[in-house]
């Protein structure tokens, strides 16, 4: 009986958490329609989340694109299919690795800092101070972050896709003896619109998840340094898992039908 009760408690707890996150997400989005808005906060988050993430996005995707080209070449050689390197790199980067890697890097970089920042603000009563100054933290902190991440992530993913393909291109041309113009033509001819649309859509969804989890865990932080640490950890884990789960669902929606 205790075994069943434990399972029941876990299921109920999980359902309650899903409900809380969903309500939090609805609440966040609903502030889009309700002034006041804080455009300056939004602009500063665009810079923080978008511009400042460029180095990490570039580094992550260029190495991955390069490694991917090497793997596909070596694997393809087993059945004389070395020539498909440009096509597979393009499709692999744009459909999967670009959005997922950029999403996970944003979860590491942005979710953690948003969660730690808001949790610290909660612990030091800055959230209470905002409320007493007639400013709603959901409008002033959460919406600008979530909106900025959702808007800027497709751009980051587009840049990541491009740099990843360039990584594959560099390896292909320099190491594997591909002709540069043939490589590029093969890449461009092979990609379809749905690949690009799916990539950017994934970016937007992952950005939304990453910022939302940072804010959600930050605002629910417990007291003290341990509270801030736990909130940050929880936010990054939740964001990463949700991004991977959402990736599966979106891939299913775009490509399985």
């Amino acid at each position: 009986m205790t075994f069943l009760a434990t399972i029941g408690a876990i299921v109920l707890g999980a359902l309650a958490a899903v409900g809380r996150v969903a309500l939090f997400a609805f609440d966040t989005v609903s502030h889009l329609a309700r002034p006041p808005w804080y455009p300056r906060e939004f602009a500063s988050q665009l810079v923080q989340i978008g511009w400042n993430s460029l180095p990490v996005v570039g580094l992550t995707t260029i190495f991955t694109g390069g490694a991917l080209a090497l793997q596909i070449y070596a694997g393809g050689a087993r059945f004389s299919a070395e020539a498909v390197v440009p096509q597979i790199v393009a499709i692999g980067m744009v459909r999967e690795l670009g959005p997922v890697l950029v999403g996970l890097m944003i979860a590491a970089r942005v979710t953690s800092s948003v969660a730690a920042e808001i949790a610290t603000m909660k612990v030091t009563e800055q959230l209470d101070a905002l409320v007493t100054l007639s400013t709603n933290p959901m409008k002033y902190l959460t919406l600008p972050r979530v909106l900025a991440a959702t808007v800027v992530m497709p751009l980051l993913v587009a840049i990541g896709d491009t740099i990843g393909i360039m990584g594959g291109f560099l390896v292909g041309v320099q190491r594997l003896g591909f002709n540069a113009s043939t490589y590029l033509t093969n890449t461009i001819d092979f990609l379809e619109w749905v690949d690009i649309v799916s990539s950017l859509t994934k970016g937007a969804v992952f950005g939304f998840i990453a910022a939302l989890m940072g804010c959600y865990f930050g605002m629910r932080s417990q007291r003290g340094a341990a509270g801030v640490g736990a909130a940050t950890k929880g936010a990054v884990v939740a964001a990463s898992v949700l991004i991977l789960a959402a990736n599966f669902i979106l891939t299913e929606m775009f490509f399985a039908g």
């Binding site: 006041p36 804080y38 009563e125 209470d128 101070a129 409320v131 007493t132 100054l133 007639s134």
Partner: protein, 253 residues
């Protein structure tokens, strides 16, 4: 002006407030004392609507605080009449000192042109004894005492009718604590504001209070003018004032 009637609040199984009754007339300075964890902060935050009581009524000039919906314009208007000094200052780290002080004047219903808001901020900083050159620093660059002063400047920036002080002297050296106490007293008198302070610093009480209320075991144990405090005859209050380990209040909590 501010009235609490039968206010109850529990966190989980821990009953913190068990029926608090308190009345603060307009223009008076009420100081609530009591040991750590007796619910002083909960009282104060309940009036501001940061915490919703489980039971009881809180009114400010007849307006029921607990009925104000979060984010409604009535609630914004209600909060615009308040200033609050937080225990740790609660300054926004990402904003300059002057932007902290002028926070309310830079957005929302009290919004003014930036230059004017900055001017008011600098004037308020001067009022709390800070020079204009701190205006462009960040809160992290200030000492604890200076942060407290900035917090005080922010609390009074929009000329509130009601000011709350949450342990204004905690964490300060005795001289700085004295300076802050005097400032609070002066400002409350010159603005004619209604003040509610929570503290366990008896020097603070004597400097700031018109009236004193002692919170113990979730209820107001004693209340009266500060002059009557020393010969109240209440063993709990006497023990608290003298800081004695002997008495009805358990020393181990």
């Amino acid at each position: 002006m501010i009235e609490l009637r039968g206010v109850h609040k529990a966190f989980g199984s821990k009953q913190v407030l068990r029926g608090v009754d308190l009345f603060i007339p307009k223009g008076e300075s009420m100081v609530i004392i009591g040991g750590s964890g007796t619910g002083k902060s909960v009282c104060l935050k309940s009036v501001l609507g940061l915490i919703t009581p489980d039971k009881g009524e809180i009114t400010v000039e007849g307006q029921d605080v607990t009925r104000l919906r979060q984010g409604s314009s009535e609630r914004d208007a209600f909060l615009a009449r308040f200033g609050m000094l937080f225990q740790g200052g609660a300054l926004f780290d990402s904003l300059h000192v002057w932007e902290n002080v002028a926070f309310r004047l830079l957005r929302g219903s009290l919004k003014r042109p930036k230059a004017e808001a900055r001017e008011i901020a600098i004037e308020k900083l001067r009022r709390v004894g800070l020079t204009p050159d701190v205006a462009d620093l960040y809160p992290a660059e200030l000492s604890g005492g200076m942060q407290k002063r900035v917090g005080l400047a922010r609390a009074i920036a929009a000329e509130p009718e009601i000011i709350f002080f949450d342990e204004p002297t905690t964490g300060l050296d005795p001289i700085m604590a004295g300076v802050i106490n005097d400032l609070i007293r002066e400002i409350v008198v010159e603005m004619g504001a209604t003040a509610m302070t929570i503290t366990h610093d008896m020097t603070s009480v004597r400097a700031i209070a018109d009236k004193v209320a002692m919170l113990h075991a979730g209820k107001i144990r004693w209340t009266g003018p500060v002059a009557d405090m020393d010969d109240s005859g209440d063993p709990y209050l006497t023990q608290f004032i003298t800081g004695s380990a002997e008495g009805p209040i358990e020393a181990v909590r």
